[in-house]
Symmetry: C2
Subunit: 649 residues, 2 copies
Amino acid sequence: MFDDWRGFKERKLSNDWKRKFSELARVTRGHILKMTTAAGSGHPGGSMSSMDIYLMLYFMARVDPKQPYRDDRDRIIISHGHTSPGVYAALAAAGFFDITPALHGFRQAGSPFEGHVERTIPGVEWDTGNLGQGLSVGIGKAIYSKLSGNNYHTYVVMGDGEQQKGQIAEARRMAVKYSLYNVTAVVDYNRLQISGKIADVMPQDIRAEWLADGWQVLEIDGHDFEQLYDAFHKATHDEQHSYLIMAHTVMGKGVSFMENDESYHGAAVKLNDFDHAMAELGIENDIEVLMQQRKAGPPPRFKNHPPGYPVLDPGRPITYSPEDKLDNRSAWGKALMSVAEINMGRDGFHMAVFDNDLAGSVKTDSFGKKYPGNFFQCGISEHNTAAMAGALSVEKFLSVWADFGVFGIDETYNQARLNDINKTNLKLFCTHSGVNVGEDGKTHHCLDYFGLLNSTFGWKLITPADPNQTDRVVRYVLSTPGNFAVIMGRSKLAVITDEQGQPFFGENYRYHYGRMETIRKGENVALVAAGNMLHVALKAWSKLAAEDMRVTLVCVSDWSDLHIDDIKMLASYPHVVTIEDHNVKTGLGTAIASTMLSTGLSTGFTRLGINKYASSGTPEELYRMLGIDDDTLVSKVKVILGEFLKIGC
Amino acid sequence: MFDDWRGFKERKLSNDWKRKFSELARVTRGHILKMTTAAGSGHPGGSMSSMDIYLMLYFMARVDPKQPYRDDRDRIIISHGHTSPGVYAALAAAGFFDITPALHGFRQAGSPFEGHVERTIPGVEWDTGNLGQGLSVGIGKAIYSKLSGNNYHTYVVMGDGEQQKGQIAEARRMAVKYSLYNVTAVVDYNRLQISGKIADVMPQDIRAEWLADGWQVLEIDGHDFEQLYDAFHKATHDEQHSYLIMAHTVMGKGVSFMENDESYHGAAVKLNDFDHAMAELGIENDIEVLMQQRKAGPPPRFKNHPPGYPVLDPGRPITYSPEDKLDNRSAWGKALMSVAEINMGRDGFHMAVFDNDLAGSVKTDSFGKKYPGNFFQCGISEHNTAAMAGALSVEKFLSVWADFGVFGIDETYNQARLNDINKTNLKLFCTHSGVNVGEDGKTHHCLDYFGLLNSTFGWKLITPADPNQTDRVVRYVLSTPGNFAVIMGRSKLAVITDEQGQPFFGENYRYHYGRMETIRKGENVALVAAGNMLHVALKAWSKLAAEDMRVTLVCVSDWSDLHIDDIKMLASYPHVVTIEDHNVKTGLGTAIASTMLSTGLSTGFTRLGINKYASSGTPEELYRMLGIDDDTLVSKVKVILGEFLKIGC
């Protein structure tokens, strides 16, 4: 049970609560200053302007300090994560944890009380810091509220400077389109940002913009608890509108020399001035004690209780026969439907598929037709989609996003990075990658999917080679926790077969994440290819074999976690040739070569890949122009084999 | 001289022009259909709805088909680049080139007439395709109009679906803040996008949003040339407001079966239906001829006449002495001022510095104070800034952007990629990179600057090692064409000295882009480090030297173009150890190791770098926690040297 007053249940804030809040506001402001001055860095100014909002939310929303991870809690998202001292002070005051370790452990290496709020802290829902992300996260949480039937409310607290981020407009429209009246946004409107007054830095009519996108706007004094309560009460209980609460506040509120001074945005009060600040707040100055405690090292981190990943039945694989000629993206669409049909309606199973105006191309249209309540058409607003779908994926929820590579990866890389930092379980399916995209030309050729996602620490990237492997990969990815990107091309592909003409990835094939597959066994040279390029390599292999040059052909589907045994296997050949529809500098060949050399192995090594932007054209034409076609591969191998012969002589 | 009617000079469109436009509208629509059907792909629907807008602009704006690159021309930016057939048809009609090669060469590999418009075509100002970029580009052009004194007008034509991109809101506000009334935006409001009606895909009150951001809105019939002319006339000549023209149009306009059918957004008319379409337009069906001509291969590309890069005096280097302890970012700020002071005011020299609310931290504040007219405070809207600053940099103009790494690279990677595709000359200075950022924590640690920019083909990345090298690098970068990113940390650093205690990068040092520097010469092991990490490696070197283990220490400042002679030099050591404040998977060590193995060289190789997200903390604490500190480096080298001894036995 939540405390019975929670959920802004009473019509009015009682005088008892007003007195209590007033006292808490004084004490927690002292905590903000202690944390930042003991650490010698941090953001006290905005923490003090947001402080009363935080107190109101953590005391009055339906959250439970003793069960901070219960599924039906209200979600409170802090978008301007640099106000962490205010958040920690409010959470501690509300009983989520003891304040002492926060006071001396703030911003210390290894401490949970980091400079920007993180999910490892009970009560914190999302790691923020890069601005403009919070509302998208809140929209994700609001969707879960509806789909799970928990019907909780989501509150998103934002800065006023960050209203300059375009992503917020995308999120606003998404809320209105899907009638997400269970989300309330609050702007800490202190009218200052790092460089000065927001009116000077970037003039903006925040109220007019939110109204234009269909939200209601309430303007209040953000340091008046009665007004705060009334506004939240109204926003929480109105089931016909989404609200922005513009809370007029004062940066540095509570300490005279800090008020309205933007230099306290990102700087702690100096030790010299600290006594003065504490005296104004009527709080004992124990900064020396805290700085002493700080020397003992960081406080322990919290044991987290994340909701876990949904258990789902991946179903039985579909095997396509060599006669079928299918694009991988259609195989993905079919596998998605198959998994959805098996699991949808099962107790506690929830999923959503997100689209950015490309459902027909990215093959989520059948899903959308069959499960309209689980399909979200987000329009051309990828930044919001990436953050929103990521936020949903940390609930016990299957969150699926399909897009072209340049939008799902290139345009939204930072959202992928922030999702990764948040340990999300997002499933990203990119149906258009490489110059295989063809005629749409260079702005649409995603040549860096691995270079980018390999620059994170958690994302795993898979490029299935044919419709059969795609089917297996999709089932694996949907049923496995973590962030996965499945990268496909748009061309139709033959089923990869063994030398007897049977499907290589057929009935008896078991997909093992992280391992390579030897498609053809030979000698002297190992050709290594992935995804669509395996078909080019197989053509080259056949041409070579027809001339009695029987080399080995290896398929890599999983680029992110190369297995040492596979690297050793490759190094056992006199020469390795990699071929990829990807920037050669940051692709598969580079990963294999650098891993090989760093593990003390070496062999002849040739990397074929893309080294310039391509034009429009058919994939085959572009492969030829870029030197990643079968004939180029054949001639490279012949030169290599020729050199062996010379050495043999 | 421009044609005397240009610049929407006449108060009204004459009847002659109306007749002429009406005829052109018919013929050019035929061209759209021929191009797309001959190619078998493309976007006829939106091309036909934008067609009349394009004709009006290319005939009436102050552009010169015979001198398409003159500096005082109006700039016409096509944001929805997929309407390329309409653009090509209009440009040809206006005399920029002959239509024939476009008709048969559209979307053919190697042809200039690509699927999305590109700058290689005379009259096209910017390669677009990824939506939501055009207004930012237009704002950049509008700034150049003012700073150069050319006082031309900029027109930006956009789709209605792309209004869903948040970046557009950022660009709108920038225009209003800087009173850029010399830019006019047009929305081709055909009310359809790929997935259907925009009102269903993502409901949006476009008019209200633009008004909220301070623009004027004119709504007109986008197929009525008189209304088009009147609107452009008003928008062009009103010097007190920026205008959006909402041109109500019909997708597929001109062919009955295509009108209002969104399936023609991205699909050509089938050959079966082609006759019918031509008959409706009253145009001869010569599609067979075109398809025959297409077989002869792509038409030649145009010879471009880009404006070139400004000639500027890089000034005399400043040398800091070993007593100075300075952060690289301050050295960068001083070098920027030095170059500005020398060149500002010189005939034809123009520059701008862009900031995103971080001028004090990224050290552009002194520039801003001294040159307020050349300093643009863009607020927290990095996507707009990246595209706008890039667009400026292709004029004969020095365009400088300073930001934190996570905003200047991670958040805006796709804008960097699109700039690169546009062959821009953007100078990006990131003052906060790596875990060296420290207490702000993981969301602010940019660990992937090279992994990302190395995934493009043009960006060059430099990490100067100390204030002296920073000074030289800044002068080099500012005076050299191309996209450069200079990556710095925020820590204060000692001046790197030689063994005699003199500045290593001192008076006699000449910076040669692309080459490594041997800081200390030794044997057995080559330590390789860059930027801030060179100081860690130097500490380790000294500790090893104190124990009579004298290894070699190599400084890499330029990561993007490793020189084969340097790779050979490294391979000549029995073991190479790289250390970097960057994701180890996509950083310097990976680039060196993979280049080495691919050029037929090998040696012992150890990569030290970052393999997980770090917490808040001081840089030194974080280096230790991540194993990129001097003591870890010392112990690794000792193990390596020990193994040599064993082998020696």
